[in-house]
Amino acid sequence: MPRLRLKGVSKRYGATIALGRGDLTLMSGEVHVLMGSNGSGKSTLSKIIAGSVRPDDGVIECDGSVVTIPSPRAARDLGIAVFYQELSLASHRSVVENICLPRLSGTGGLFRNRAGMAAAAAPFIAPFESVLGDGFGLDVPVGRLRADQRQLVEIMKTLAAEPDIFIFDEPTSALDRAQVDCFMTVLRKLKAEGKSIIFISHRMDEIFEIGDRVTIIRDGETVSTSALADTSMDEILRTMTGEEAPGPAVPAVAAAPHVARQPSIKLKVSNLVAPGVNSVSFELAAGEILGFGGLHGQGQSAVLRALFGTAPTRSGDIEVGATRLKGNSPRASIREGLAYVSGDRARDGVIDGRSILENTVPIYALKNHLITASPRSLGTRAADALEQLQTKYQSLFHPISSLSGGNQQKVIVSRWLMAPPQVMLLDDPTKGIDIASKTELFRVLRDLAADGMAILLYSSEDAELLENSDRVLVFNNGRTVRELRGDERTRYHLYHAAYEAA
């Protein structure tokens, strides 16, 4: 009898289907790898098992009987513990307190027992004893630890819940090889004890090292489950992307092959290091659209934000045109000709409650050191810029909130076009935008590139990224692992690179 079985589980948010039909059968004593491309639904599936997302439909069976998992607490009571990719630690609490937290109230007594807690945590810290590194201590607040140490604490916390079913969602992204080896030893021991483990990772070598079976999800549906011994990386990637290995490239919309002939470098980045960015170097030529791809959150956005000067720390060399970028602030980046458009319009773009005009002119005003603003003269310039993107609006004086998401984003792009930048940084710019506006936006971007602008594009939609980029840099763990050119720009190659050993 399977330990856990999901049959036809689904979840939708409004019109978006996050998971259409999730099936999963988890046996005792196995490491079950869950794989899928970005947005395929694998994290929704694991969140349903963790109890933090309630499915709309489908059946969950635990040890043969039908169960509902309405909360993480209920999941815990069923013997399920989760390693959260974004970690679930309290940064002001000590290592011991964090490890013991989930089981704190379960054991009797009103008062905490320091020695008891330390003793309870010890067996879960012990396997990592040799790889903990400097500054680790039982009483150290978790917020003081390094990223890899925090990840180890999250692992220990998951282990300390002593569940029967583990979900590990990207547990090794910050760990070094020795730390991973310790973790793998622990996993093998758990497996031998008959525990069930769901394992999500972007490191293919680990997947084949520890995994027994793999379930692949594509576009919200479970497409296959097979034994890892009977399959290969190629076959997994083919199933995951639904593409053949050497398959034809997605025809890019007016890809510009002539670009390479006039290599006027607009942006040169060397050894960029910032939070989430691990020494990234690349060059971007005039007229080129360079895409940033890979699994979500591998440093694509972080590079763009670091270039724009919003990261708290940054090192490395950045040259825009012929000048070296000095200050680490958006102001300095704007002055050197960088522009940044984010998909999170509410946070990074729209000036809420103000008119369309006021939302269009600020960069122009900043760059031209305008002291007074005349709505009439600015209005005509703004209208021109908005016209270039075919923005639909009633009047410049209507609030920006009167526009659809797509048109709001066009206003933001127009803002930059009023004083054209050298390099445009696009951070998932089409998030929450309708298809027509997307197409329109990319047509304009292609025109801008043809006029000599250089564009960096990160998109969370793989198809959009592959279609619109001349080249694609694939990110893994804050580094670029591969560059895809020409016919290589396929989902297959993208994921092949994304899952390559880090």
């Binding site: 309290a90 002001h92 937290l101």
Partner: protein
């Protein structure tokens, strides 16, 4: 296991005892008071100071619980007022004997706790912003207090305030209460509950994902806040010896200031109960210092405000220096 170096051990001392900067400020203020007016450091003067600010100490400790979980309660002053009039009116109705005083106090503590539970249900159950929700419930509590006792002035039996202001075995009664508060704090910081509460304040989603009963933990914090606000009310009755339906309303933000002075972050997840009690004393000493320093009456508010700002800045600077 690698041991933390001496610098990080030094840090962790401050991290474990976030009230240390507040303690420093308290000592500095005691010295300043002593310089400005040596008599202000006499046994009697200190007793008087504690007698006056004991209610604020309770209120600050009450506020700490909700602040730990990244909430805030702007109704603590109104709860205090409500309990104050409920107790005073009950004593009057029940005849004023020792039994009636005890019963009225018990009812008062119950009323305070219920008011706290009500706050918790409104904020956590209805998912309202604590700052506005408790602002509104505070007005409701004030309305109830005005219904119970429309005008200030009903006196309490002599025995009540004589006890509060008196001595037992030659030691002032309020000192026993301070010891009681200290014991309560000593016990409270050793509960498992406080670890869970801090974890909720630190990162609510993470705590939920860890399987903690976040809703129950937050409501409990509001209940504890109401309970301790009721104790603050009993202290106020002992000090003022009468009922007043708005007596505590001005104290609400003082309690928040005391919490912050005591080294607790309003963003939740870290702080100290003892620090909040010290913070309340700091506010008291600032007021007495301004008085003893001979600031003319029309400038006293101004001077008090500046002094509180200086104390806050001193606390922030010390904490920043440590965490560097």
């Amino acid at each position: 296991m690698s041991m933390p170096q001496s610098t990080s051990r030094q840090r962790s001392v401050f991290e474990r005892f976030p009230f240390i900067p507040a303690l420093g400020i308290l000592v500095a203020l005691l010295i300043l008071n002593g310089i400005a007016e040596p008599r202000s450091m006499s046994y009697g003067a200190i007793t008087g100071l504690i007698k006056t600010y004991l209610a604020l100490m309770f209120l600050a400790v009450a506020q700490s619980f909700v602040v730990f979980s990244a909430d805030i309660d702007l109704s603590v002053g109104a709860i205090l007022s409500l309990v104050n009039v409920v107790v005073v009116v009950l004593i009057e109705r029940l005849g004023g004997g020792p039994d009636s005083v005890l019963l009225a106090c018990l009812v008062g503590v119950l009323v305070g706790t219920l008011a706290g539970v009500f706050n918790g249900l409104v904020v956590v159950g209805l998912r309202l912003q604590p700052i506005v929700a408790t602002f509104a419930t505070g007005i409701v509590f004030t309305g109830l207090a005005l219904w119970v006792l429309p005008v200030a002035g009903m006196p309490v039996p002599q025995a009540f305030w004589r006890t509060y202001g008196g001595r037992i075995f030659e030691i002032p009664f309020v000192f026993y209460v301070v010891i009681l508060l200290a014991v309560f704090i000593w016990l409270a910081v050793r509960t498992k509950y406080i670890i869970e509460l801090m974890a909720v304040g630190d990162n609510r989603l993470a705590a939920y994902q860890s399987g903690l009963p976040v809703t129950r933990i937050r409501i409990k914090a509001f209940a504890l806040c109401g309970l301790l606000s009721a104790f603050a009310a009993l202290c106020i009755i002992g000090d003022t010896a009468s009922g007043d339906p708005v007596v505590g309303n001005a104290m609400t933000l003082y309690s928040v200031a005391a919490v912050v002075l005591g080294g607790t972050a309003l963003s939740g997840g870290s702080g100290s109960l003892l620090g909040s009690a010290i913070g309340a004393l700091i506010l008291g000493l600032i007021n007495s210092f301004v008085f003893f320093a001979g600031v003319s009456s029309e400038w006293q508010n101004f001077a008090q405000g500046v002094a509180v700002l200086v104390a806050l800045m001193a606390g922030v600077l010390v904490t920043r220096r440590i965490s560097k």
